[in-house]
């Protein structure tokens, strides 16, 4: 009896067994909630699956063909690229500037860091998105403030196709917190000795920034760039809540387009096809970013 129990524990204690058992929760979750649904969605993308119809059949590439023939698909591509390629660089720039400011040690720096991180927690919440919409509403705070200083206070920021997307970009830039924290930790790892040596050699501050800080930061910039670009392509909530894609589809982001295909036009099959195209687009752009890596990213001379 006793020896049997011991052998079971002994078995579990073996290195291989223990590690496999410990990662089981992840493996099961990964298979059940990621791989299987993904394969299902790949299958559905070739069917005419309809939300409320119980049966569906294989229709080959029709979903893909429909999707590319839809002008609103191309509007959504345009809006998404515009949004991603403006909001991501601006956000990274902003995050870097704030990280540099917060690098200085003072007694309150912990509080500042928490405060500047707050928007990226809040910014995703519906309440803040709704508030954001109200700020730029025609009778919102922004116009009221403009009116106070005697400027035109009737401009429809959310209704003019030149400005609407910028209100959303601004909201995205405001959520710079997570990039900022990553920059901050990278900045702290740059050895002081480099700065010391360069200041002894008489390098000016800007020169130190461009010759030491920035090059040593490039791996972090690269990481942030890739992560933020991916999340930029997945933007949804802001447009869904504030503009519903308007005016004239200028803020119809890709995921919003997908949502409307699935839940309003009741065609999850076509939605799945769109999801796979999105995956390919994100994959291609990430691959391109990795290709450019060797031209500008310093990875320690390896």
């Amino acid at each position: 009896m006793k020896s049997k129990k011991f052998s079971l524990i002994g078995f579990l204690k073996e290195d291989n067994v223990a590690s496999v058992v410990c990662v089981m929760p992840f493996i099961i979750g990964f298979l059940a909630f990621l791989i299987v649904p993904m394969l299902l969605s790949l299958y559905y993308s070739f069917t005419n699956y309809h939300m409320i119809r119980p049966t569906y059949e294989w229709i080959g590439l029709d979903n893909y063909r429909n999707m590319f023939n839809d002008p609103r698909f191309w509007s959504s591509i345009r809006a998404t690229f515009y949004f991603t390629f403006t909001s991501v660089p601006l956000r990274l720039l902003f995050a870097l500037i704030v990280a540099l400011l917060l690098l200085k040690s003072s007694k309150l720096v912990g509080i500042y860091r928490a405060m500047y991180y707050l928007p990226s927690i809040l910014g995703g919440s519906l309440a803040v998105v709704i508030l954001w919409g109200r700020i730029f509403h025609q009778d919102g705070i922004l116009n009221a403030l403009l009116g106070l200083v005697g400027l035109n206070r009737h401009f429809a920021w959310l209704g003019d196709s030149r400005t609407t997307i910028w209100t959303l970009i601004l909201l995205a830039v405001w959520q710079f917190g997570s990039s900022m924290l990553i920059f901050l930790s990278a900045l702290k790892q740059i050895p002081d000795s480099l700065y010391e040596a360069s200041s002894i050699d008489g390098a000016s501050r800007p020169r130190r920034f461009f010759k030491i800080t920035l090059p040593l930061l490039t791996p972090t910039i690269f990481f942030n760039l890739v992560m933020q670009t991916i999340s930029g392509f997945l933007a949804f909530t802001q447009a869904f809540v504030i503009t519903q894609g308007g005016p004239r589809d200028t803020t119809r982001f890709y995921v919003l387009h997908m949502y409307q295909t699935i839940f309003q036009n009741q065609r999850p099959g076509e939605g799945a096809a769109q999801a796979w195209v999105m995956l390919l687009i994100i994959g291609a752009i990430t691959a391109i970013l990795f290709k450019t890596k060797r031209f500008w990213v310093y990875d320690g001379g390896f």
């Binding site: 309809h50 939300m51 609103r72 025609q138 009778d139 009737h154 308007g246 005016p247 309003q264 036009n265």
Partner: protein, 448 residues
């Protein structure tokens, strides 16, 4: 080491049981007994319904879209029904209009539709076509759902392909709801059944005299468009053609170029929220509208949300041929899911909703004019002023309409979404009305 875990487990168990009680507490009948005997003699429920009512038991889910007023009323009526049928428990599922259809479609996809579903004219055909709803004809014939007091025309509103798949729980009619106070101040009279020219003239005058605009195409363009097309005795959902749509888009373009049309740029952020309707919450003068194109039963909610001292009134949409254009439709129905486990309870609830006078004394036509003629005549004295206006309006439209309303096809939702885009394009001036009509007709034709 072990104690904290036991405590945690106990905590979890307590929390779960609390959650369970939270769900089931709704099944406890309220203390007040059902005042069944108080219903007037002429509306005494037929015997078979009474008999089955005693035996009903089981759980069902009731789903509806609503607003705070409607939700409270619905809960009250549900409690009345449960008090009359102690063996029944009903779970509520309610969300706003837009999310309701998302949720319902998701439930349909997993074969989990609620038992009793509030249904809309624009989706009825789609749900029936996909076999999600039950044909109620046998239940009506057996008297489980008693429609003997419901006029034949109203029963017909739920007919699809020869079966009856839905029971109207309120009728309404398209109505232009306008700011009566403002119009009186400006000395403008809004008669019933305006022609298009009269409508444009009023809109221009309101804009010139008061600086207030006209929102007729932004809230839901499909309704005024359909109304105009019906004037030519055509059905835009069957053979869409550019000529049908051009007058409507020209009107949009005219409003934009002459300034009286509501600016689509100001409308973003307002769509779909009653409290944000430019009629009652416009803010500055040029972002207000003197009118909104809605439905007769919407008057209750709009009047409740209107600023102090503003009185609203309604008239039919403008049309060059009002007798053809006007129609009465079911503002909403109850349907029973095809896969329900408890037909008897579901049918009992629909029957109760149709015939119980006391239930309607609570609801007072918030969902539209009740289906049963007996109910209507009994609750009329209890109606508020707004409710009475609504009843009169619907009966006025009933007398003035000649073509019954045809249900919208399954693709209507997608076509409507495209229509909004095209209306925006015309109102922003990026395409001409002729191009808009042609491209919209082509889009609709492709899907139909």
């Amino acid at each position: 080491m072990k104690k904290p875990r036991i405590i945690l487990a106990m905590l979890l168990a307590v929390m779960m049981s609390v959650a369970l009680f939270g769900c089931t507490s709704s099944t406890q009948p309220p203390e007040s007994a059902p005042p069944a005997e108080s219903s007037p003699a002429e509306s005494a429920p037929p015997a078979p319904a009474e008999d089955t009512a005693d035996e009903l038991s089981g759980n069902i889910i009731l789903a509806w879209w609503g607003n705070p007023t409607r939700n409270e009323q619905t809960t009250e009526v549900r409690e009345m029904f449960q008090a009359a049928n102690p063996g029944v428990s009903i779970e509520e599922l309610t969300v706003g209009w837009a999310d309701y259809w998302t949720q319902l479609a998701t439930l349909a996809a997993s074969n989990d539709l609620p038992d009793v579903i509030q249904m809309d004219i624009s989706t009825l055909e789609e749900y029936v076509g996909n076999g999600q709803l039950m044909d109620l004809t046998p239940l009506i014939e057996s008297g489980q759902i008693d429609l003997s007091n419901v006029p034949e025309a109203v029963v017909g509103l739920g007919r699809v392909d020869g079966g009856i798949y839905a029971v109207s729980i309120g009728q309404n009619a398209p109505a232009m709801i306008y700011n009566k106070t403002l119009m009186d101040e400006l000395g403008i009279d809004v008669p019933n059944n305006l022609t298009i020219d009269q409508f444009v003239e009023i809109s221009k005058k309101v804009y010139e005299d008061a600086g207030i605009r006209t929102n007729f195409a932004l809230s839901d363009p499909s309704n005024p468009l359909e109304f105009l097309v019906r004037g030519d005795m055509a059905n835009m959902w069957v053979n869409p053609a550019a000529e049908m749509f051009q007058p409507f888009f020209e009107l949009v373009a005219q409003g934009a170029s002459e300034g009286w049309g509501y600016d689509p740029a100001s409308f973003i952020g307002r769509a779909g929220v009653v409290e944000q309707d430019p009629l009652i919450a416009g803010g500055e003068l040029n972002t207000q509208s003197w009118v909104t194109f809605g439905w007769s039963n919407g008057l209750t909610g709009l009047q409740a949300a209107a600023p102090e001292g503003v009185v609203l009134a309604m008239a039919p949409y403008p049309s060059h041929n009002p007798a053809n254009s006007n129609y009465v439709r079911a503002s909403m129905y109850f349907s029973i899911a095809a896969n329900t486990d408890n037909v008897d309870v579901a049918a009992g609830l629909v029957n109760f909703w149709t015939n119980n006078v006391d239930a309607h004394k609570i609801m007072l036509g918030e969902r539209g004019v009740p289906a049963s003629a007996v109910v209507v005549s009994t609750i009329t004295p209890d109606m508020s002023e707004v409710g009475a206006i609504m009843l009169d309006y619907v009966s006025m439209v009933t007398e003035n309409s000649t073509i019954p309303y045809a249900l919208r096809p399954a693709a209507a939702g997608e076509i409507n979404s495209q229509l909004r885009l095209v209306v925006d394009e015309v109102a922003f001036g990026t395409i001409t009305p002729a191009d808009a009509a042609a491209s919209f007709a082509a889009f609709a034709g492709n899907l139909l």
